[in-house]
């Protein structure tokens, strides 16, 4: 962006761009600049709630955010620009906006990971509006240079056509089954031109930046996005480990009861999977629902599952999600 030298800058605390002193909103990501000091005691800061009718520019086009509870991203596309998104997010469009589809890499992996096979592509000129049909917030993540952002599946509302899209596998089978984020994360990077992705988070969205080696445990359902530099693994925290004075015999009984419990839950999971016969069971597993069932069966009744995220980099979470019951 071009900034005339006025000797003073306002740094956006969302994307760290420098803005003119009189600017009320960030020129790159739309964040209101008066949000910069809002940091919780724990270090999280709430994603800036975009003012109604705020416009964000990318290429020669704009995204305008309308509405509050279930916000709409309304795009005014220039003839030279395009965007891509999952087709079910469409709300309305001009008849003249051409539609095409983007073939995505992965094939059978996408089927396994409950990811859409194709993404819809809209090209300008014209207007198009998208919404995710759920209460929450839209956050804008400008991506340029070497930045790579990994995103929870289906959280993308729209990405500018200049972004390169791929996906990365959640590390380890345990992570894939227990993380609650699916087997794969969507991955966006800018190759050449900078771009933006607009992400929908349920409820409110919070972000913090982890320094190198810093670890934070996040409930898997709350995870929304992270820099690719942030590593991720699923850990189980034994809730009974802190019990003091327990005899070895008592611990042995507990261990046996845990094993029996796992066996019982395994049977329940198998019954749930097989309720629609062989075809239904395979369908659940392929569609991703089976992973949750298996996760329930494998988890200990005395353990809580967390996603351990290790810095350096940004981490974004959402405040509303369907939790996977512990134990």
């Amino acid at each position: 962006m071009t900034v005339t030298d006025t000797g003073q800058r306002v740094e956006c605390q969302w994307c760290h761009a420098h803005n003119l002193p009189e600017a009320r909103s960030c020129d790159r990501c739309g964040a209101p600049l008066d949000q910069r000091d809002r940091v919780s005691d724990a270090g999280w800061r709430q994603a800036p709630r975009l003012r109604d009718l705020t416009q964000i520019h990318f290429g020669s086009s704009t995204v305008q955010v309308d509405g509050d509870m279930v916000p709409v991203a309304e795009l005014a596309l220039d003839a030279a620009d395009s965007v891509f998104f999952e087709h079910h997010a469409m709300l309305w469009k001009d008849e003249t906006v051409p539609m095409s589809v983007m073939d995505t890499p992965g094939g059978a992996k996408r089927l396994l990971g409950d990811m859409p096979f194709v993404l819809s592509v809209a090209r300008g000129p014209g207007h198009l509006a998208l919404s995710r049909d759920a209460a929450g917030e839209l956050v804008v993540l400008p991506i340029d240079g070497s930045a790579v952002v990994e995103l929870r599946g289906h959280a993308l509302l729209v990405a500018s056509g200049t972004m390169t899209y791929s996906f990365s596998k959640a590390p380890g089978l345990k992570t894939a089954i227990l993380s609650g984020t699916g087997l794969y994360l969507d991955r966006f990077e800018a190759t050449g031109e900078p771009g933006v992705i607009v992400v929908h988070g349920f409820g409110n969205v919070f972000e913090r930046t982890l320094v190198e080696g810093e670890i934070i445990h996040v409930e898997p359902g709350g995870f929304l996005y992270k820099d690719a530099s942030v590593s991720m693994e699923v850990i189980s925290v034994d809730l009974a480990a802190g019990a003091e004075g327990a005899s070895k015999a008592t611990q042995g009984v507990k261990a046996a009861r845990d094993m029996a419990g796992r066996g019982f839950r395994g049977l329940k999971a198998a019954r749930a999977l097989m309720k629609d016969g062989v075809s239904g069971a395979v369908g659940q597993v392929l569609g991703g629902g089976g992973a949750a069932v298996l996760g329930e069966a494998l988890s200990s009744s005395r353990a809580a599952t967390f996603m351990a995220l290790t810095g350096p980099g940004r981490v974004g979470i959402q405040s509303m999600y369907q939790d996977r019951a512990t134990g």
Binding site: R28, Q64, W92, D94, V121
Partner: protein, 327 residues
């Protein structure tokens, strides 16, 4: 990024964001009707908490923000009608009675509520729609009409005549769409099961059946004010937007997103086939169903709706749908 100057003060003709109660340039009260998105929509402002609206000698007060309730203070001899499931509470003095409904068999087949109730004052009675969104008041001048999509009605004053008519937006497909029919991997599995004699023997029979789909709902509610002005209140999911289509102007919206329209606005099913490579699997979502709204008249949409499931199978027949193949 810039804050949008989408409001032009009718007094001083200076642009502003229109966010405040008064024009920042001359202090004139902001007319919310003049504030539009770049795409031409006006966001219906949520009714202010505890706002009161006068209807005849009765009053309705809208309270709450996330799931607002409409609290009527009915004058003696005045009444409202409503679908029974939206009733929240009432005072004992309010007289409830069933409302005579015509064509009950058709209503039942269409999923419309079979039981509508009338409430007569004096006393208080309140309604809510049990979903996050907004309550919208549609005042009707004497003799004026409005079409409201089914399932949206909250309440209407008794001087408003209620009728319902075919939406005439439909398509039919051949073939069943049970869970085992979705997904390429499952199709292969089902072929294997069939070869092994384990398949569902009735699946072929279901495939030969014709299925009828109504993306907008089978019927549209039609309200007409009598000799006196009246009030229709509806519930919207998320945020609601309204715009006026000029004579001959048309727009594509996702069918389930439509809230209401003037009777002068005509509707037509429209199908888009995006530009794509080889179409290997039928469930790739390679077509988009739209509702074309043709002016003149006012239309309202909501930002949060339950998406219509398109089975993806070939059309058997349609209600005169138009098609666009992008190449």
């Amino acid at each position: 990024m810039t804050d949008t100057m989408t409001y032009t003060c009718p007094y001083c003709r200076r642009p502003s964001t229109g966010e405040g109660a008064n024009c920042p340039n001359c202090g004139a009260p902001v007319d919310i009707e003049l504030r539009t998105t770049a795409g031409g929509w006006t966001e219906l402002p949520p009714i202010a908490d505890m706002a009161r609206i006068q209807v005849g000698h009765s009053q309705v007060e809208v309270s709450g923000r996330s799931v607002p309730a409409a609290d009527w203070k009915l004058a003696a001899g005045e009444g409202v009608y409503f679908p029974h499931h939206v009733l929240l509470w009432q005072e004992p003095s309010v007289q409830l009675a069933p409302m005579s409904m015509r064509r009950a068999w058709k209503r039942m087949r269409a999923g419309l509520p079979l039981v509508m109730l009338t409430a007569r004052g004096p006393g208080r009675i309140a309604f809510s729609h049990d979903s996050a969104g907004e309550v919208i008041a549609l005042p009707l001048e004497a003799g004026a009409s409005v079409d409201v999509c089914e399932g949206r009605l909250l309440t209407a004053s008794e001087g408003v005549d209620y009728d319902w008519q075919d939406s005439n937006v439909w398509y039919s497909t051949s073939g069943g769409t049970d869970a085992a029919d979705t997904g390429a991997g499952l199709s292969v599995l089902n072929m294997g099961l069939k070869l092994g004699g384990l398949a569902d023997d009735h699946r072929d029979d279901r495939r030969n059946e014709t299925e009828w789909h109504y993306p907008l709902g089978r019927y549209v509610d039609h309200f007409t004010a009598g000799e006196q002005p009246g009030m229709v209140m509806i519930g919207a999911g998320g945020a609601a937007f309204v715009r006026d289509l000029a004579d001959g102007e048309s727009l594509l919206v996702k069918p389930p997103a439509l809230l209401f329209k003037d009777p002068s606005v005509s509707m037509q099913l429209h199908v888009e086939y995006p530009k794509a490579g080889m179409k290997l699997w039928r469930t790739w979502g390679n077509r988009y169903l739209w509702l074309r709204l043709h002016g003149p008249g006012r239309v309202g949409v909501e930002s949060c709706y339950v998406a219509e499931e398109d089975p993806g199978t070939d059309f058997h027949d349609t209600s005169g749908a138009t098609q666009q193949l992008w190449r």
